[in-house]
Each structure stands twice: as structure tokens, then as C-alpha cells.
Symmetry: C2
Subunit: 218 residues, 2 copies
DNA sequence: TGCACGAAACGGACCGTTTCGTTTCGTCGA
DNA sequence: TCGACGAAACGAAACGGTCCGTTTCGTGCA
């Protein structure tokens, strides 16, 4: 929370009831009216608060959304000793959290807001960097167990996983069943290439990489 | 274009110059002022057109954006005979198209707009479904060549590839070099799991799939 | 004569800010 | 110990501004 930055001496303190009422109202407005109906005026009305009070503590609509999101966000980064289960568990946890709380709407709104406000984009980038680090650790653990190749870029893998989650959030597809999640994770872990004949050994299969420069046709 | 639906008899026809001027102005405004500055008023001002003229032909800001996007969109779906090259080529083509024309800004705006307007979301979903079909065909071709396992869900793979593209668009990361793209595609094609010892054959490596039910810990 | 056009204006919503009177709460002196 | 004082936060109202989507008007083309 952006509380009490430049307090000098005496005077009334920030009213925590008011702050709570505003956050509660913000969440309610977002859920009931959606992102398009989410305005500072609407939040103030609902919270029976003055607009200046909101602007005093939150510099922008996005700051309010961020506080709102962090008030809810609790997602598991499982550690089962098996990367597939870790990733599937993470996605399941994230999707249901987004689905069943207002977190989904909030995060969607933040991403949308970031498209028209560079400041929000920067903060969001910082935030997701931290999140990717968590996911990356799951992969690094698997690497340490010898489950994942040593030269794998765990940041990039985390990026791929998060991308999947983001797009499904943005396109209202948070209802994927576990089978689909497991399949998607499976592709990432084991690839989609055919096993060829059973006689060819693994290394050879993977080494068969044509580096054709590939003039792209229309 | 949403042109001339209920024309009855005589009278002045739609002025194509005006339509072009509006689309040109819309593109210019979007590029110069960004999505936050992209308003019907601004477009009308720039095009020296009346707002009613715009509203007459485009029911919403999003419809204008769609027309704008389709005026530019030309992306390659390469067919090199090798899936990795196809996918990398596709991503390269898409990223550079988004980067070097106004397409990127336009599509970003469309996605953002879809977050606050269900109609736009529906149209966008329809559109992307068509695009995924194109990507899916690349995978199906590879399947026909025996390059990809027969039971792979090509729609889901297309979804993963598109997700990567979307997030990079939305987070201003369209400048990935070919190496990174190739790596990302490689993970999807070949997986990230370790090859284990060189002695183990491919099928065995891939068959070693632990289906642990995996109680997720905190 | 019918329709598209540009221009102007409409009421309404929201923006971010300012003004006002009130309330809350440290502080300091009596 | 207590009450006056002042700084700061508060709710309410109003500001000028922008944009929304619509209506009205006069002009011009077919």
C-alpha cells in the first residue's frame, strides 16, 4: 500500500476504515460492472468516499488494481519432485484462483490498462519478472534432479508457461480441464515430435535437426 | 468493411475518399498518440470528417480497428517441409510484421478493447480461431510427414505458439532474436527433458512418464 | 428527390483538481 | 490532567476539460 510517505509531524492519520471501504468497493465495482464500468467515480460513490481521498493514496486506477490484486493473490508453486506435476499443479492452482476469486478480472484489467499506460506496463513487467522467477525455480529444481537438460533456458520455459496462462485468462478460457493442462505441459516437457522407429536411439532422434535456412514461401 | 447494408434507392453513394481518409487518420492517430489517445473524436478531427460519418459506417472503435488491421495483415505461413523452420519462420514473420507496421499497435489495442467489451471479445475469438487453424495446418502437415506424433492435438500446439506471440506483443517484447525463437520452438518440438544416458532408446525415454497423482504442497 | 457529407451542438459520463467545512489526532502550555 | 491549537485526512460539491454516442442543420452530389 502507498501509505504515509511524507508524514512530517502531527495531524489526523490515514483512516484505515476508509482505505478498506475503498478497496472493497473497488472489488465490488469491478466484479459487478466489469472493467469498462470500473471508474474512480464509481468506486468513490460505492465506498461513500470522496474522489480526492482515493487520489490521495492511489495515483492511478492501476495502483488501485495492484493493491486489490495483492490483497488476494495466493498461488501455489508446488514441489512434488516431478516437474510435470509441479507445472500442472501450478496452472491448476492459478486458473482456479483466477476463476474463483476476483483475481482474474483484476489481472485482466491490469494487462489491459498496461496497453495504454507505459507506467503500468513497467510495473507489470517488474511484477511478472518476479513471478517468472518462481516458475523458473521449479524448472531449475528439475534440472538439479537431472530431469531437465542442463542447457535449458528456464526463464524462457517459464515464459512459455506464463504465456499460456495469460492468453487463456485474456480470452476467457480458464476452464480447461486437467487433461488439457497436462497435455500442454507434456508437449513442453517431452516435445511433440514422433518417436520414429523404436530402433533409433534418443540422442539420434534429437540430433536430427535440419538447420535449413528455409526461404519462407507465401 | 461494414458497407452499404440497407441501401434502398437513389441518392449520394458512400464516399470512398472519406472512408480512406478515416482509416488513414485512424492509423496515424493510433501510431502517434497510442491506444490511450485513440478516440473517435481524434480520428474525426484528423480526417476532417464528421463523427456521424464514422459512426455511420463503423459501429464501434473496435470495428474501425479491425478494418485497420485487415488492411495491413499479411503474414507468412511458411511450408519448408520442416516444422521447426515453419514455426520459426512464422513467428519471425509475425513479429517483424507487428514490429515494423502499425499492425502490432492495432492488434494490441484490439486485445485491450476485448477486455472491456464482450462483443469485441467474441469477434476476436472468431478471428483467432481462423488463425489458429492456419498454424494447426502446419502441424498437421508435419504429422502427415511423420514428423509429429499422430496423437498430438494440433489445436493445442497452435494455441501454445500463439500464446507466446500474444504475450510478447502485449509486453513489448517483439525484438527477440531468431535464436530465442528457435529455442522456444525447439522446446515445444523436442521437449526440455534430459536425454538421460545415451544408451537409453528414445521410446523408453518418452515412455517413462510418471503419472503420479501428485498432491500439491504449499 | 434522396442520401452522404461536414460542422456544430447536444446531454451525459468520467477525468483529475480545487475548494470548502468538518473531523481526527498529535502537541504543548496552563 | 486537560483543553486549546494546528496539521492533516476526510466527504461533498463543483470546477474545466475530454470523449461518448446522438441529433440537427445546411450543402452537394447523383
Amino acid at each position: 500500500m502507498g501509505l504515509d510517505p511524507g508524514r512530517r509531524s502531527i495531524g489526523a492519520r490515514r483512516n484505515p476504515d476508509s482505505a478498506d471501504a475503498i478497496l472493497d468497493a473497488a472489488e465490488a465495482v469491478l466484479v459487478e460492472a466489469g472493467y469498462s464500468g470500473f471508474s474512480i467515480e464509481a468506486v468513490a460513490r460505492r465506498a461513500r468516499a470522496g474522489k480526492p481521498t482515493i487520489y490521495r493514496w492511489w495515483p492511478s486506477k492501476a495502483a488501485l488494481l495492484f493493491d486489490l490484486y495483492q490483497r488476494l493473490k495466493r498461488v501455489d508453486y508446488p514441489d512434488t519432485g516431478n516437474l510435470e506435476d509441479d507445472l500442472v499443479g501450478f496452472l491448476k492452482s492459478l486458473f482456479s484462483h483466477w476463476r474463483e476469486t476476483s483475481s482474474g478480472s483484476i489481472f485482466r484489467s491490469l494487462i489491459a490498462e498496461a496497453q495504454s499506460d507505459a507506467t503500468v506496463a513497467a510495473v507489470l513487467a517488474e511484477y511478472t519478472k518476479g513471478r517468472h522467477a518462481h516458475t523458473g525455480q521449479m524448472i531449475e529444481r528439475a534440472k538439479a534432479r537431472g530431469e531437465v537438460a542442463a542447457d535449458v533456458d528456464s526463464t524462457l520455459v517459464a515464459d512459455l508457461v506464463a504465456s499460456f496462462a495469460w492468453t487463456h485468462l485474456l480470452t476467457n478460457r480458464l476452464d480447461e480441464d486437467e487433461t488439457t493442462l497436462r497435455r500442454a505441459v507434456g508437449y513442453l516437457l517431452k516435445g511433440i515430435e514422433a518417436d520414429d522407429a523404436g530402433s533409433v536411439d534418443a540422442a539420434a532422434v534429437r540430433r536430427r535437426r535440419r538447420r535449413v535456412v528455409g526461404r519462407t514461401t507465401r
